[in-house]
Symmetry: C2
Subunit: 413 residues, 2 copies
């Protein structure tokens, strides 16, 4: 894409009403716009990152048999009433201003809705197991919404639900999801810690969270330095004990960001919606369920918290808005010609390029913008580089620059 | 995908609480589930269709320079207050149940939000024109929600907004969007009529709609049988006149479904948000805007209204949930073996296949399901077809079946 046509611009100054580093950098670089506390618009660069995270999630969900669906944003109150979740304090209520539309809650988790749907299709053990997921905007009336994309009142989430004939089968799938989650976060450039946590409003059982260590994190976790066993402070029994019970390694307290969670729900929702099946012996049993969330917009915020420097964001390769940032310096016709031709040829070979073809911008401004936006490769073409028939290449997370023959640029990146 | 793993099932009986044909067929075939009046879940088959419509829209929006973004679902009331649209009667209001979150309207059109964002980036004529769009769930508190996907309280929409330095440039782009819209609907299998209409709550000017002729349509339009000039009843001056003023062709009254609309907004929103730019002469001027909508879920409903028969849906090729429905008949190991191998080979060559590998289903049940679901090609493999080393191929919208050698199946479809 030509940067001259991108409708957003970078800004030198950090927004005054943001404390969180992720929000400051993402707003300055033009990835997002803040509409209200905890409510952000995703602008073209930001939407590209979010879409790439969504693509990774879709690939890994498909790999574990997840069937993609799309459930309502307007969830009839009767659903949450059936499980006693209608009065949860983060609820956003919605109703028609002028017409009687019934009362809705803006869906913040869809166990109830999908359990009812499943009761249309599940009759026998032969109809199990299955898993379905969606990627959707959700709303939670967070009392504090001060951490940028980390704690939004509106956010994009992937929620997966699984249905099983037995607890054993649920636990088997739970392990599959766990592996898929580690893969997803790794592909997004995040190292996650699998952490024991409470069930919150979802279940009575313990659950697990995927935590990313970061100073801005709102969670406190206790992590064993030897075996990486971890517990969230809210459930931890190893708090205050300096040795891990599993391996007697040293325990450390860390601040962290929860980017995913997995819940062994058991029969809570199938009982509420009478979701039963006939087992091999002909007996009626309740379906055993699990649910599994990933905050996509929160993951994007967490990546910025972890991958940045003084100059701006450093996007991991797989979720960067573009693979390369091609920068044209100067106004000589030869420089322009080579840049245009390289832009065309990179695109043709499937490289996603942001092409800084802007006129009336100084070298300093173009480099500062490139650092702020944080695309993995910077490719500079100027009169000086062309004297050697070269482009100057630099990785965003590297200080070294190197001259590479124009014809070899594509294979280098 | 293996049909034995698809978690939805077809149903012989039409849902009792649905009058609209699109809802009846889509629910019977397992594409959607009705959660409340006008609120539907998209199940795996339905989500595939909706995603394909979205892919087409994205391709055609990119072709006219549309930059994809994602604006909030929770729109702060101040936005709609600024243009006097906070009290529009189809408004859904939302607020936190327990915390003071401010007051929101569930976004039903995003002119205000994007105009404010544009004011961060537009200063000079050099920053214009540009266009940005999103694909998003929107909510409108429709008093009647009886037409299935045609009039939902919640629906998926593509909304594009364009920003220009002059009215002339807006009109130039308006024509580009018009062409893109015809292409989109054609690719979705719909013939649309470009119809003069009122501006509703968007603008004082006349606007244009893309109408699909169908008996269930809630609109009435007057169409010239000679030049296809059309006016919506609500603005028509040719009502009651039997000749078209443009070409003196015969006028006919038709029922129709509005699947898209385009609005020359002018300066209404740029004035409300003080969105101005400096023109070539150094003078401050208001940006001239347009907005352009397509109902994606409504388009899906309209396609079903137009493309069906007694047995079920007949999906147009580009938006069908799968390209081919491979049906295994009988339990002979040879039949199974060939089916499995053809399934693998079709998938390998990029054909999207729904593979009916279900056991304990009769021939009649499998064929009835295939007709109901409506995938363009049906490929049957049975002991009988294998006697000639063939599969039996049939197009969904054709009565003829033909035997094709197994090795030639892929090239035939």
């Amino acid at each position: 894409m030509r940067q001259s046509q991108l409708f957003t611009k970078t800004s030198r100054e950090a927004p005054k009403d943001e404390q969180a580093l992720n929000a400051k950098l993402l707003m300055r670089a033009g990835f997002v716009h803040k509409n209200s506390a905890g409510v952000y618009s995703f602008l073209p660069l930001g939407w590209r990152v979010l879409s790439k995270i969504a693509d990774i999630v879709r690939e890994e969900m498909a790999a574990i048999g997840g069937q993609e669906i799309f459930l309502p944003v307007l969830v009839d109150k009767r659903y949450y009433k059936a499980t006693g979740r209608a009065n949860v304090d983060i609820t956003f209520e919605a109703k028609g201003k002028s017409h009687d539309t019934g009362e809705f809650i803006i869906g913040w988790s869809h166990e109830e809705v999908l359990t009812e749907i499943a009761s249309r299709f599940v009759f026998s053990f032969k109809d199990l197991p299955f898993a379905a997921y969606q990627i959707q905007t959700k709303a939670r009336a967070e009392p504090r919404a001060k951490s940028g994309l980390l704690r939004g009142r509106e956010f994009v989430m992937k929620d997966l639900y699984s249905f099983h004939a037995s607890k054993e089968d649920l636990l088997r799938y739970y392990e599959e999801v766990k592996k898929a989650y580690f893969k997803i976060f790794k592909r997004c450039g995040l190292e996650t810690i699998y952490t024991l946590a409470s069930g919150g409003v979802f279940t009575m059982s313990n659950t697990h969270e995927f935590q990313v260590v970061a100073p801005l994190g709102e969670d406190t976790i206790y992590v064993c330095q030897k075996c990486k066993y971890a517990e969230n402070k809210e459930v931890s029994k190893i708090r205050g004990i300096s040795k891990c019970p599993k391996c007697s390694g040293q325990i450390q307290e860390k601040r962290s960001i929860e980017v995913g969670n997995i819940f062994p729900l058991g029969e809570k929702y199938s009982k509420a919606f009478d979701l039963r099946f006939t087992d091999k012996k002909g007996e009626k049993k309740y379906v055993v369920m699990g649910s599994y969330g990933i905050g996509l917009s929160r993951t994007m915020g967490a990546v910025v918290e972890v991958h940045h420097d003084q100059e701006g964001i450093i996007w991991p390769k797989e979720i960067a808005p573009f693979g390369a940032h091609l920068i044209l310096l100067g106004e000589e016709s030869k420089v322009k010609e080579v840049s245009e031709s390289l832009y065309g040829s990179l695109k043709k070979h499937g490289v996603e390029v942001l092409y800084d073809d802007r006129e009336q911008k100084t070298v300093g401004e173009k480099f500062a913008d490139a650092d702020l936006i944080g695309i993995p490769w910077r490719i500079v073409i100027s009169e000086r580089t062309l004297q050697k028939d070269c482009a100057e290449l630099k990785k965003r997370n590297d200080k070294k620059v190197k001259l590479v023959k124009i014809k070899n640029v594509q294979q280098t990146i």
